[in-house]
Amino acid sequence: MASTKMKIKKSAEGGHDVMVLAKHPMETGLRKDKKTGEKIPAHFIKTMEFALNGTAVAQADLGTGVSTNPLISIHLANSKSGDTVTVSWVDNMGESDSAEKTVS
């Protein structure tokens, strides 16, 4: 159901830029359903972990203030061709997804 996409681009300063697009509603918990008038419960990604060759390098903490379908990118200074980048996220309802890509 969920799909997470990752792009890795070579950076001008060396290393690589990792860009992640996660499909997620990112509900704030403040919006109301137009038909029933009931509040839509909060549903958002909490943490997104980046790993280089299996070692965690960074963790993004997200809240309800991040847009629907979050597009997150970070810079990796020590990555080189052939390395594996893994990204995995967990939301407040326990759902999770991950993606893996090899640096070209």
Binding site: E13, G15, D17, T28, L30, K46, T47, E49, F50, A51, L52, T55, A56, V57, A58, Q59, A60, D61, L62, G63, T64, G65, V66, S67, T68, P70, L71, I72, S73, I74, H75, L76, A77, N78, S79, T86, S88, V90, G94, S96, S98
Partner: protein, 156 residues
Amino acid sequence: MKRRIFLKGSVAASTLAVAAGAGLLSPTRVLAAAWPESAFGPRPEAEALEAFFGSSDVVESDEVSLKAPLQAENGAVVPIKVMTSLANVESIGVIVVKNPAPFTTGLEVMGGGAGAMYSARIKMGQTSPVNCYVKAGGKIYMTSQEIKVTVGGCGG
């Protein structure tokens, strides 16, 4: 009737598959740091800083830069990019001062090699200063930019 039984069976199977997937992912989750719950939510800026960085002593710095539009036509999707030339970045935090929950997002860096750049798309309820904080070598540096939000989308 048979169709109903079949549907029931397939639903049960898919929940099992989800459970198995979650089980496989859990080892990486153990390594991850906990979500900083005390930083998020309707807390004033200083309190969120204290919770996320462990301090609210901040120095303004040219070495932190924020790339964001001066004017955002759609407050639901505002692209921001924090860049820094500082070495040994430990964490990055973004605070939208006038949002109901000011602390919007953060990045925690483990070990070297990451943290020179962090970008995300954020929601903004109204025109507000956006403050970016970078903690490096035990000190917190910040930069700020006001982003105008035009609800009508006429660019006015």
